[in-house]
C-alpha cells in the first residue's frame, strides 16, 4: 500500500520559468520613448536635400558660405561654399536651393550678387551695405534643368525682371543710350534698354530693348525707333529753344518709338531687328495709328447684314445695309443688339426683310412691327440656336452709364479669316448728353465703319453703349438695362 503511494506520480517541481521581460524595469518604456524622440528629432531637423547648383562669378563682392539666395524678398536657398576658380579668373559659388524653389534651377535663370548701388534714378541694395550680401535671381522660364550658371556682374536692368518682348535695334551709333535707359511711346515708358553692343564688323551698334508685356501690341514691323537722348538746343530768330524728354533721358539717354500705319500685320517676335534712327521724322507721329491697348478682349461684335426688296416704279430691287451687332446674354436668351434703322422698313417691304449675321449667314427673325419703337435706336433680336456664336458678352463685361465719360468705339473686322480689332477714342469733351443719348462730334466716326460698334468705357473696359451713326452724326446710345 505504502509502496504504491510512494510510486504514485505526484508532480515534477522546478523553478517557475518567468518570462525574460518580467525582470525588466518600467523605465525601459521611457527608454523606448527616448529612442523614438531621438529619431524624430533627427528626422525633423535633417534638411531636405534641396537642389545644389553652382554659379560662376567674376567677383565675389565679399560673399561667403552661409549667405542666402533670395527671390521676391525671401530666402530660397543658401550658399554652401565659395571657392576660387583654379584659373584665378573667377569664383565658384556652391549653393543649395530649398525644395520649394527647385524650379529656379532651370535654363535661363540669372543670378547676381546684390550690393549697394547708387544711380541717377535711385539707390538699391542698401541693406547689403551693413548686413550680409546675398544672391538675387530672375527665374528663367525654361523647363530644362540646369545646375551650372554664369552669374551676372551687376544687377540687370529692371526691365529684365518683367515680362515682355526683347527686340534688337540696329543703329550707326550708340546715341548715348545706356542699359536701363527708358524706351518711350509718346513720352510714356513702355520698356527698357537692356544692353548695347558693337556688331562683329564694327559697323553697327546693336541695342537690345525689352518692350513690356502690356505694350507689346504697340509694336509692328513698321515701327520707327529713334534716339531721344540728351538735350536738343536750337537758336534762331524766334529765340533760344531747348528740348529734353526728361531728366532721366538727359542723364541716361533714351529711345522712343511710334508705329505709323502699317500694312504688315505679322506679329513682332522676340529677337526681331529694327533700325534705330538718329532723329525723329515728323510724319511718323502724324501717321501714327490707334493701337488697341485694352487688357481684355474686344467685345464680341458681329457684322449684321440687312437685305430687303424695295419697289421702284413697280420693279423690286434689293437693298442692303451693313452694321455691327453686339451679342449679349440676357434673360430671354442670347440676343444680338443692332441699330434700329437696320429693321426700319415700310410695312410693304417687311416681308422681304432678312437679317444675316456671323460666318454662318444665319437668318434672324425680325421682331414684329409693334414691338419696334421708331424713337428707339437699338433693337435686340433673338439669336436662333442654329447660329453658333463663340463669344457672348457676359453680364460682367457691360454696365449702364449715367454720365458722359471717356470711352472708345471698338469693332471687330474680318478680312480673309483674320480678325482684327479697330478702335477709336471718343473723349469726354466730344460728347454731349441729350435725352439719355450722347451726341458725338468726332468726325472720324463714319457710318460705313462704325455703325453699330460697341462703345467701351476707358476706365474699366466695360461695354457701356453702342455707336449709332445717324444722319445727324454719330450718337452713343447707352445700353438699356438687360
Amino acid at each position: 500500500m505504502t509502496e504504491t503511494e510512494a510510486e504514485f506520480p505526484v508532480a515534477n517541481v522546478s523553478d517557475a520559468r518567468r518570462p525574460w521581460w518580467s525582470t525588466l524595469s518600467k523605465m525601459w518604456i521611457v527608454c523606448l520613448a527616448c529612442l523614438i524622440l531621438a529619431i524624430a528629432l533627427t528626422w525633423h531637423s535633417a534638411d531636405s536635400p534641396g537642389t545644389s547648383i553652382t554659379i560662376r562669378f567674376t567677383d565675389g563682392h565679399g560673399l561667403k558660405a552661409g549667405d542666402t539666395i533670395r527671390h521676391r524678398g525671401i530666402e530660397i536657398g543658401h550658399i554652401e561654399d565659395v571657392s576660387l576658380d583654379p584659373s584665378l579668373k573667377g569664383i565658384h559659388v556652391e549653393a543649395v536651393l530649398h525644395d520649394n524653389a527647385k524650379a529656379i534651377a532651370c535654363a535661363g535663370s540669372r543670378f547676381w550678387i546684390v550690393r549697394p548701388q547708387l544711380g541717377l534714378t535711385g539707390i538699391s541694395g542698401l541693406e547689403t551695405a551693413v548686413g550680409a550680401k546675398y544672391i538675387a535671381v530672375i527665374p528663367g522660364d525654361g523647363t530644362i534643368l540646369q545646375k551650372q550658371f554664369d552669374g551676372l556682374a551687376a544687377e540687370p536692368p529692371e526691365g529684365l525682371r518683367k515680362n515682355g518682348i526683347e527686340i534688337v535695334l540696329r543703329g550707326d551709333d550708340r546715341f548715348g543710350v545706356n542699359p536701363g535707359s527708358p524706351l518711350t511711346w509718346r513720352g510714356i515708358e513702355v520698356g527698357q534698354v537692356l544692353s548695347s553692343s558693337l556688331s562683329p564688323d564694327a559697323m553697327h551698334v546693336d541695342t537690345r530693348v525689352r518692350v513690356l508685356e502690356p505694350y507689346r501690341k504697340l509694336l509692328s514691323h513698321e515701327s520707327k525707333f529713334w534716339a531721344n537722348s540728351g538735350i536738343q538746343m536750337g537758336l534762331d530768330l524766334s529765340g533760344f529753344e531747348l528740348n529734353a524728354e526728361s531728366l532721366a533721358t538727359i542723364a541716361k539717354g533714351g529711345i522712343a518709338f511710334i508705329t505709323p500705319q502699317s500694312t504688315d500685320s505679322r506679329e513682332v517676335r522676340s529677337g526681331d531687328v529694327f533700325t534705330l534712327h538718329r532723329k525723329r521724322e515728323d510724319d511718323w507721329v502724324t501717321d501714327a495709328i490707334p493701337v488697341n491697348l485694352m487688357q481684355l478682349d474686344a467685345p464680341p461684335t458681329e457684322t449684321v447684314v440687312a437685305k430687303w426688296k424695295q419697289k421702284h416704279f413697280g420693279i423690286p430691287r434689293s437693298h442692303s445695309r451693313i452694321a455691327s451687332g453686339l451679342v449679349v446674354a440676357s434673360e430671354q436668351g442670347t440676343r444680338i443688339l443692332v441699330p434700329a434703322d437696320m429693321v426700319h422698313v415700310t410695312e410693304a417691304e417687311q416681308d422681304s426683310l432678312t437679317l444675316t449675321a456671323g460666318n454662318e449667314e444665319a437668318t434672324l427673325t425680325i421682331p414684329a412691327v409693334n414691338e419696334r419703337d421708331v424713337e428707339q435706336l437699338l433693337v435686340a433680336i433673338n439669336l436662333p440656336d442654329a447660329l453658333q456664336v463663340s463669344d457672348i458678352l457676359s453680364p460682367a463685361r457691360h454696365r449702364s452709364a449715367d454720365a458722359v465719360e471717356d470711352c472708345f468705339a471698338v469693332r471687330r473686322t474680318q478680312q480673309d479669316a483674320k480678325k482684327t480689332v479697330v478702335i477709336e477714342m471718343i473723349g469726354r469733351e466730344q460728347l454731349q448728353a441729350h435725352q439719355g443719348i450722347w451726341r458725338c462730334n468726332n468726325t472720324h466716326l463714319t457710318s460705313e465703319t462704325w455703325h453699330g460698334a460697341a462703345v467701351v468705357s476707358s476706365s474699366d473696359e466695360k461695354v457701356i453703349g453702342m455707336l449709332v451713326v445717324s444722319d445727324e452724326g454719330p450718337l452713343v446710345v447707352p445700353l438699356p438695362s438687360m
Binding site: M27, W28, C31, A38
Partner: protein, 182 residues
C-alpha cells in the same frame, strides 16, 4: 545586531526615518539604471549633433550645435576653451553614461572591476557639466534677448531629456548591489 532584510523591504532610521537601505531586487534596480542610461545615451547624440541655437544678427543667421561650436572654437585658435568645453560637455557626460550602462550589467562584470568602475564614475560624474551648460544657455538667452534674435534648435529638447535621464540613471543605481550577494 542588524535585522536581515527580506526582498521588497526597506530599512529606515528609527530616529529620522530616512531610508538606510531598501531591498529592491538587484535585477530590477539594475534594469532601471540600464534603461535610463540607454535612454540618455540615445538622446546624447541628437543633443550634441543637432543645432541647439539659431542666432540671427543683422540678417545673418547661423545654426550651431554643441559639436560644431567646439569645432568653431578650435578653428578660431582657442584650443584651451575648446578642449575644456569638449571635456566637460561631451567626454565626461558620455563617459558617465557609458559607465552607468556598464555598471548596470550586473552578471557580466567581476565585482572588483565594478567597484573600480563605480569609483571612476563618481569622479567623472562630478565633472560632467551638461546641466550647467543648459543653465548657461538660458542665462545667455535672457541677457542677449533684445540685441540678437535667438531661437532654440531641436537639440534643446534632446539635451534636457538627456540630462534628466542620466540623473535618473545615476540616482536609481544602487551601489549596494555591487557587493550584495543574494
Amino acid at each position: 545586531m542588524l535585522p536581515e532584510l527580506e526582498a521588497n523591504q526597506r530599512a529606515r532610521c528609527t530616529r529620522c526615518r530616512s531610508v538606510i537601505h531598501s531591498k529592491i531586487p538587484a535585477e530590477l534596480s539594475a534594469s532601471r539604471t540600464a534603461a535610463a542610461a540607454v535612454g540618455a545615451f540615445v538622446l546624447f547624440w541628437p543633443a550634441v549633433l543637432l543645432p541647439i541655437l539659431q542666432i540671427e544678427r543683422l540678417g545673418q543667421s547661423s545654426e550651431q550645435s554643441i559639436l560644431s561650436g567646439i569645432i568653431e572654437l578650435f578653428h578660431h585658435g582657442s584650443y584651451l576653451v575648446g578642449a575644456v568645453v569638449l571635456l566637460f560637455s561631451i567626454v565626461f557626460p558620455l563617459a558617465k553614461i557609458v559607465l552607468l550602462i556598464e555598471l548596470s550589467c550586473l552578471e557580466i562584470l567581476h565585482q572588483r572591476h565594478k567597484a573600480l568602475t563605480l569609483r571612476i564614475m563618481e569622479h567623472v560624474g562630478k565633472w560632467s557639466m551638461m546641466d550647467v551648460m543648459l543653465l548657461a544657455f538660458l542665462v545667455m538667452l535672457v541677457k542677449l534677448g533684445n540685441l540678437v534674435h535667438f531661437q532654440f534648435g531641436p537639440a534643446v529638447v534632446a539635451f534636457i531629456l538627456c540630462v534628466t535621464m542620466s540623473m535618473v540613471a545615476s540616482l536609481s543605481f544602487d551601489p549596494h548591489s555591487i557587493w550584495d550577494r543574494t
